[in-house]
């Protein structure tokens, strides 16, 4: 009896400790965001303090407001997600279920494109976009964002399409649905879960993208990931504002993570089993 209890306790304690390693830093940032700049620099660090929204006001309404950056992020992420879905869903279906010529090679190709390190791609992207005059444009960047979201989305969707029994198409064809209507009325409703997972991942990756945004963006296209550097300069770091900025910038993805946690875990494991994935 006592041994079982000690064991339980040890387990709970270690789990708690580990929770603190992963949970606490985020909590610390949250706390910091409600402090005034003075309180932040206080030593010993104040756990109890008078909360202030000064940092948030600075971040949202101040001179270096990140609201335009939020807008930029939203446009980029939504655009990338939409475009990815539009292209990946049919492609995934063709790859998974239809008599696509050279199916295996195509499958390999999609898998291989995920292996490319982004640093290898920005140089040509930069040069090409510069020539075409598409640097610092939403269109240019959304298409570039497809680099990492498209292969992954196709791979995820293929595994979801493959889960549907083969007879679905056969039954629908016999019912005179034709191939397009079969896809729309019979198959797609059955992969709704998979599409949701794909949306979550693509949006997340797009929102968090940094390298492409910083090299290929500029003054017009400047998502929150780039804007974070507003709060750091050689002279002084505005701690509370940085923390508040991080909270605001990461707010949407944290919210998404909380709401869609089951989806995310599912996507991770599915992606892991089928050998895809990024980030």
């Amino acid at each position: 009896m006592k041994r079982a209890f000690a064991r339980r306790f040890a387990l709970a304690a270690s789990a708690g400790m580990l929770l603190s390693i992963w949970g606490f830093p985020v909590l610390w940032a949250l706390l910091t965001s409600f402090k005034t700049e003075r309180d932040v620099l206080a030593y010993p660090p104040k756990i109890l303090f008078e909360p202030s929204l000064a940092a948030y006001r600075d971040v949202l309404f101040g001179a270096s407001s990140i609201v335009p950056n939020l807008v930029s992020s939203i446009i980029l992420s939504l655009g990338a997600t939409l475009l990815t879905l539009l292209v990946a869903v049919p492609a995934g279906y063709a790859l998974a279920r239809l008599g696509l010529p050279a199916k295996r090679t195509s499958g390999f190709y999609v898998l291989a494109t995920q292996m490319l390190p982004p640093v290898g791609l920005i140089i040509p992207y930069y040069l090409v976009l510069q020539k075409v005059g598409a640097l610092d444009t939403y269109v240019g960047l959304i298409v570039i964002y497809l680099t990492f979201s498209l292969p992954f989305a196709i791979w995820l969707l293929v595994s979801y399409f493959e889960d549907i029994p083969r007879e679905m198409e056969e039954a629908a064809l016999l019912d005179r649905a034709g191939r397009l209507r079969t896809l729309w009325y019979v198959i797609l409703p059955q992969v709704r879960g998979g599409i949701a997972v794909t949306i979550v991942f693509v949006f997340l990756n797009a929102w968090n993208e940094f390298l492409f945004a910083v090299v290929l963006g500029g003054n017009r296209v400047r998502p929150v990931t780039v804007a974070m550097f507003n709060f750091i300069s050689v002279e002084q770091t505005r701690w509370a504002s940085l923390a508040a900025g991080a909270m605001v910038a990461m707010g949407p993805v944290m919210l998404l993570g909380l709401i869609a946690q089951k989806h995310i875990v599912k996507g991770l494991t599915v992606g892991a089993v089928k050998g895809g994935g990024r980030r």
Binding site: A15, I123, I144, L180, L211, M228
Partner: protein, 311 residues
């Protein structure tokens, strides 16, 4: 009397010669191509074409600070690499960085997963705590650690270190510590990934095998070594492959935390390529460096997939 086939029935007209690939199969193929082509075009445009361009650029001398020197250079960039100590440094750092963080992620993730399996309740809370680091942008994580955690005097880590008696340190200022720090940052952010995947795999293991082992009087360690581990092997391999790919191309967090410094203390290969191209404007050499990184990534992934298949 009935023997074989051809029982009396309505006479059939002379059948038309049948096409070998039926019309409807051809239509299916056309439909499939229609659906797949946009993706194919976009993929080629965004990945393969740029790759060719990258290789081409690596054969050029493009120095935006001295534009008059630009021109075809052949393998000059690659030759230069061989004698470039900064390159070899970055290669070494990449090796250390990648291997250390992947090993740590797997070991920690597995330990966590095993622990959490024993706790029947509270798994949701732990899952949420695990998901938060993963959904954050690596650049934010890097900045965050740089300022809120690793700053001497004010950072949380520094505070803890002082409280425990280890004193204050320049976690990102000291070259060795900086490497340790960036490894810690990457591990911190991505261990939950390994944790979640391995937890899911553990949860899906059939319980009867363990019960059989218990009946055969195997103790906890033996059960772990001889049953759990082998059964988990496919999942672990996948996690290793995926995390290695990510570690090789990890950029934003290090960039935010140290920018590659101090000096070149945390300048893994892709950071070196970036700095060469966009800070020093030597695009030709930068392209060559990136090409080498790409080659390394491809070789490693090929080897790893082979390993996976072989098992």
């Amino acid at each position: 009397m009935t023997a074989v086939a051809n029982a009396p029935g309505p006479a059939a007209p002379a059948p038309a010669p049948s096409p070998r690939i039926f019309r409807y199969q051809r239509q299916e193929r056309r439909f499939a191509l229609l659906l797949f082509t946009p993706a194919l075009v976009l993929l080629i445009a965004t990945t393969s074409a740029p790759l060719v361009y990258l290789l081409w650029t690596s054969l050029m001398r493009i120095d935006l600070t001295m534009p008059y020197l630009s021109g075809f250079a052949g393998v000059e960039n690659y030759a230069k690499m061989g004698g470039d100590p900064r390159f070899w440094n970055s290669l070494l750092l990449t090796l250390i960085y990648t291997s250390t963080t992947v090993v740590l992620q797997v070991v920690l993730g597995l330990s966590l997963a095993l622990l959490v399996m024993q706790i029947p309740r509270g798994q949701t809370v732990l899952r949420i705590a695990a998901i938060l680091p993963i959904v954050l942008a690596p650049v934010v994580v890097g900045l965050f650690w740089r300022t809120l955690l690793l700053s001497p005097d004010f950072g949380l880590v520094d505070l803890v270190s002082r409280t425990l008696g280890f004193g204050s340190h320049a976690w990102l200022g000291d070259p060795q510590l900086a490497l340790v720090s960036v490894i810690a940052i990457h591990t911190w952010q991505w261990t939950p990934f390994a944790f979640l995947v391995l937890l899911a795999s553990l949860a899906s293991l059939p319980p009867d095998v363990f019960e059989a082992a218990r009946i055969d009087r195997a103790n906890a360690w033996q059960r772990f070594r001889r049953i759990t581990l082998p059964l988990l092997r496919p999942a672990i391999v996948i996690v290793v492959i995926m995390r290695t790919m990510i570690a090789l191309s990890a950029f934003a967090a290090i960039f935010a935390a140290t920018g590659g410094g101090p000096g070149t203390a945390t300048e893994i290969l892709n950071l070196y390529a970036y700095r060469t191209s966009f800070t020093e404007f030597n695009l030709g050499y930068g392209a060559a460096l990136a090409a080498v990184l790409l080659a390394i990534t491809l070789v490693i992934s090929f080897l790893m997939f082979r390993m996976r298949r072989g098992r």
